[in-house]
Amino acid sequence: MKKLLLTLLALMPMTVFAEGLDGANTSWILTSTALVLFMTLPGLALFYGGLVRTKNILSVLMQCFAIAGLVSILWLVAGYSIAFADGNAYFGSLSKFMLIGVTEGSLSGDIPESLFALFQMTFAIITPALIIGGFAERMKFSAVLLFSAIWLIVVYAPITHWVWGGGWLQEMGLLDFAGGTVVHITAGVAALVAAIVIGPRAGFPNKPMPPHNMTMTITGAAMLWVGWFGFNGGSALAANGDAAMAMLVTHISAAAGAMTWMFYEWIKYGKPTALGAVTGMVAGLGTITPASGFVGPAGGLVIGIVAGIVCFNAVILIKQKWKIDDALDVFPVHGVGGIIGTLMAAVFASDQLGVFSGQGLAEGMTIMSQLQVQAIGVTATFVYTAIATYIILKVVGMITGLRVSAEEEQQGLDIVSHEERGYDL
């Protein structure tokens, strides 16, 4: 009997037993943390930076950098605690203020809590960084900082608590593996609201504002692809089959999104563009994010294809039809992607779809009942983010003002806000 037990012990993966730290999982999350930081710096910074005009390139890079710095400190001070310390259904608490009590020995599950806090910090960084695409090329730097700081505490940290920190959406059974609601819907909606409140760039939509450096944008997009392995794969919080499958479907969706957008554009406008391909790729990545831990490869393929088609049309709708100057298309790509991904998670998580099956819904859930939960999650996130973002912008507007002057906008934010130039070749 003892021998049997012994053998069993030996055969089963360590994690089952380990109430202590699991080195393998820790190793992968250490790595994933680096990958997610890499998504923002330099990934997103370059992706966004290439899309603006030369005179504003540094303002974009600087905003990404400054947000990374500011958010890290706020997350340490209070953000993590609001999101993940015990609290009520809507809000954590300040009991982990300054990460008090988090030592090198503290665990969160079977990985160090310091690592969990840091991994989550990199998510907290990228979300406000995504928003800057909405108000790029015209917002005051002081306003960007103040807005991002308040937004992190008032919008991001509580919604994280709702979905991942034991809050009401988690209780309800919302499927959001790596941040469809928490990251992409919040960022997309905030960018849209900001674009509307701040108003379009001078000259929009008549004056063409082509990207100043497509090579930079493509480089950044490639880094996003790579880094997203840590974002979705790391969200398994383990080095196991879940992480691997999440990475696989993430990759498939990215590829499918890119190809779909490319061919769609090719058919519709006669030429396949590099910007189209990488935008479709990002749409595929954003859309699979909430679903990545629940669906299978073929499900990932469908999600990527849908992402390509829907987000493509969303860009045309918002920018060209509605003439909202969400400058770098944050809402149509991330917001819309997050919404449809969160909804599709309910479908492709089902294990009843033949080759399109996923890992199965929770006990007692059907596609329809899960869809309902997902819809509630999407709606709550959307509405709360929209209202809160609007109020924050109004407050920030009163304190610092939101926008540079027309003449400063003309001259470009690099010189005006930072007294630097991007290139002196």
């Binding site: 082509p210 554009e265 519709k268 406008y269 563009t273 189209g276 935008t279 920018k319």
Partner: protein, 112 residues
Amino acid sequence: MKFVTAILRPHKLDDVREALSEVGVSGITVTEVKGFGRQKGHTELYRGAEYQIDFLPKIKLEVAITASKLDEVIEAISGVASSGKVGDGKIFVSNLEKVIRIRTGETDQDAL
């Protein structure tokens, strides 16, 4: 002396330079410019927004010559720069009053 300014297609530069060498021109100055004229530009496409780019990359070549060489120089340039398609460019000739070679202080013909 004459000052000849030619607007050319960028890829013709090397041929023109050689043609000028053959007629004894030993120095030229070249600038990258953007031209707008009868030749149609191209379209650019960014996330479904199509832009018409009217300005085309051209090369401006400037050369100071002695008046007597003018016809020869015009010949040389036109000869190789012409493709017969819209957009080949123009040659402008104006009068040049004085030339100084900075290194030596030589002037006019000696300075060319």
